[in-house]
Amino acid sequence: MGGETVFNAIWLLTILPELLLLILALIVLGVDLALPAERKRSLGVWTAAGLVIVLLVSLLAPVPEEAAFGGLVRADPLGRVFRAMFLLGGVLVALMSMDFRPLRQDGPYYGMLLFSLLGMCLMAVAENLVMLYVAMELTSISAYVLVGYLREDTFSAEAGLKYMLFGAFTSAVMLYGLSLLFGLTGGTGYMEVAAALREAPFSLAMVGFLMVLVGFGFKVAMVPMHFWTPDVYQGAPTPVTAFISVASKAAGFAVMLRAFRFIFPSLGGEWVALMVAISAVTMTLGNIFAVWQKNIKRMLAYSSVAQAGYILIGVAAASRLGIAAAAFYLIIYTVTNIAAFATVVLVSNLTGSEDIESFAGLSRRSKFLAWGLMLALFSLGGVPPFAGFIGKLILFAGAVQSGLIALVVIGVLNVIVSLYYYLNVAKVVFERRSEEEEEPVPIPVPSRWVLGFTMAAIVILGVLAAPVFNWVWRASGAWF
């Protein structure tokens, strides 16, 4: 039994990336003190470079297969896929932040970003209810701070407060659910809980499931736990919005996939039926609301709700293909959404506005930006040959394999609706003229890297998906 060993040094390898993240955060905070104010922008480089190293270590370092720390965490292959996904998102967001004026010289901001990432990485590998809760709280609390970081800006401050209120509420509900599960089963490790749950009364187990779902649902922004998204996305500093929309959502899915796979299989068809319904409602509401938006960040917020709906298709499929497809889609979604937000940062830097109308004439101001945004929108809308198309294709394939044909039909119809508002932005970018269109948009080097990388990834993942998907697919094998 793992409980008998109090400590084993090899366990440190399991959480090596997390340890490195902690060290990196301390380094960044230290450097912040040492650097003169005018050179503090280089903190973004420190953060990004450090994260790249952590990412490489997390991919390459040997990791013990078995659970560590008495069953608190298990760095299995799929957990490592998720961890790499968050770290990649972190690198891109750190670079992107360097071009966002209000934040780019702020050391504690980068530190908070790293602490949030640390929480996410732990979420990806947590295999114990208590560990799960602690990791989620670490992630969330750092994220509340990040959202409300611009204290002078009422929008940001209000968004932070809203995010915290909503988060605290859902977190409380989830904690209640966790305690219910503990009460029912007398254990906190996923395997113990799952084993005891088979004997427990079904309705109580289901209520526990529902309460936990509220907590997860907040993270992934699924209906009806999505209400915070438009307000928070709009109010938060744009790089933070990007961070929440990709890494935080992906972390939510990481814990959701693992918990559903290992804790609740005994609930069988009931939770699947519920997830099918939630998935259908989530993508439909997200898409319909997105159609009305005039602010691009609000539009992307609803779009991210809809995207969560698509990914829930994979969760509902509950098969190996479904889970692998969800994870693969999250990788695609990470690069795609970051590309979209990176263009928003640059355009709003110049125009001071986040209205879709302010993108008029962008194709004449900067071809590079216009195409970056275009690729991102096409990928989100599932236009072949871009990454989003392949991602949706595999998600739908997983659902078909599990017999959820109706859900796939709803999904396809939703994709069609979503094209309306994605292409609407493309229309403004390429067709609408504006008076300032002679004035080019300057693209600083960090954004150049972010956009170049994400654009290449969108195209490459679209035309040559197999290598990355195979990686995810092999990783998903450990769960089955």
């Binding site: 209000e158 529902l210 609301f289 197999a466």
Partner: protein, 692 residues
Amino acid sequence: MTIRQLLEILTVLIPLPPFLAFAFIVLFFNRWKRLSHSIAIGAMALSFLMAQIVFWTVIGWGGEALYEHPIAVQVPWLPSGDEVLSMGVMVDPLTAITLFFVSITCLAIFIYSVGYMHGDPRYSRFFAYISLFATGMLGLTVADNLLMLFIFWEIMGLCSYLLIGFWFEKPSAYRAAIKAFLTTRIGDVIMLLGIAYLYSQTGTLSFAAILRDEAVLHELAVTPSVISGLSVAAAVGLLLFAGTVGKSAQFPLHVWLPDAMEGPTPVSAMIHAATMVSAGVYMVVRMFPLLAVGMEGAVGTPPMVAMAIIGSFTAFFAATIAVAQDDIKRVLAYSTISQLAYMVAALGIGAYVAAAFHLVTHAFFKALLFLGSGSVIIGAHHEQDMMEMGGLRKRMPVTFWTFLIGGFALSGFPILTAGFWSKDEILAYAWHLNPVVFWVLAAGALLTAFYTMRQICLTFLGEPRGEHAEHAHETPWVMTGPLVVLALFALFFGFVGVPEEFPVLGELIGYNWFHHFVGATVGELLHHLPGPESFNPVPLAISVVAALGGLTLGWLVYGRRPLKAGETDPLARWLGPVHTVLKNKYYIDELYHFVFIRPTVWLAGAVFRWFDRGLIDGILHGIARLGEILGIANRWVHTYVIDGGVVDGSAKVVGATGRELRQVLQTGQVQHYLLQVLMFLCAFALLYILFF
């Protein structure tokens, strides 16, 4: 790195340079004409070089060795559940020979275009398009599976649309472009069905996995398909053949090709010689083991029978139309249809190598003829009506002599021309295997020689009959140069495929290289195909008589006493109403217009009016109305219920979300949000507690 690895890399790279040229010209260099054509030609030359290196190296290995170990590279491409679709390239003997002629003809056409397109306002765009076109053909050639072949096939379909309609100011040009696109699309869709059916039965689309695996082929041949009486192999074969009927313009989908002459002439050469129509035949040649599986002796499988019937009919049918055409390019267009039909018919009777041989020789002499006609058109100031030409022999000597060589090759002029050797081989097999096909093809050969001579006489001999022909001049070297090179191939390429039993020459050359090399593509199957055991002089004699007879007849009618200006075609006088029918292409376009197009347009109009406007829009308006009602109701609830009891949020939030009043749910107030989450939770918790 071994030579094999080097060749693998080269093969992967072959389609790439023209694609990059396309991308660079479109994105960056479309304002610089010289730069554009330099990039396009440079890229094509690079592809040409790589293709030739691959070709000449594998020739050294020999056909059997290449069949045993083809050059093959694969990468996993598209995950599809438990399996992964792979993309890859493969070079077997058929690929090698196709790369050889495609790269040569494409390069010649690229260089020629510099002269032909000179001064065109969309010069750069033209080079971008033909670069993409070349990418399509080269990619299709090296593809190692049907899906990839189909992708490049469709790229070519797109390019043909863009290029046929290149001068879209002319209504006839854009109509021709749409016609070509839609007509070939009919074949493509049916072909895609065949591909999907094949995939559903075998789980793979790789050529190697299907065509080289006896067990798979046998399984396909004995499994009954959804259509009673047909095996899966036969059903798939018929569906795939429909793709060829569209792409290679066989009856009844031949109507697009003559209209495609609206494009610039290099495009015609590209479509009709080097790439698109060849692709149609290439595909069935490639899939031949599947089409032929289940063949017993000389009795063909259903797809082969279909090919023999459609091929021989089209060969004769198109030749009769060509006799009565006056446009210099239209004559060539119908001759293309007719010559492709020879290949289709040859495959239909099992003359695999002969079909491939004619594919190659035809590519050379037809490219030559099209470029020659383009040279005439440029030299004669954009005159295309042969009745207005005449007397160009002295004014355009290089064009004349090369056109003469091309024409003689097309007619199958004995011994000297490449066309003779390939056509004679088809006829020799037909004589042995199917007399009906033989006589139809022989009659077609007679007509071919006749209309070719008619064309040469009307264009080049006698005195000018029109203003433009009077002032014609020879074209610059960028145009005549490619003509000369292609003329050499039209003359001498045939000698690589001289039958060993052929009197005198056969012994002199001693080795039918083409037969051994390309025949190796199908491995063992080649030895099971029926064919003439020994040399038979009868079909040879008939073929020679047909070629020489047709040429002589043509000379007697048009050459001995050239037409004067204003004189009507003597053929029209003698044939009377028959000539009118031929001139109007048997009224097939009119028939299609009446039977297919008018009803479709009517149906589309009706559907638009009743279904789209009435039903769909009605539903949409209904939903919009519903949303409006909900919004109003929601506002009412807010004003009188919620705001009465709950504290207002900050004014800013309301301002930001005020636009969302339509939405029932998004109020901007956290209390509402939390309330709704709680309602969700309680509702479902109650549901589970009470009902489970």
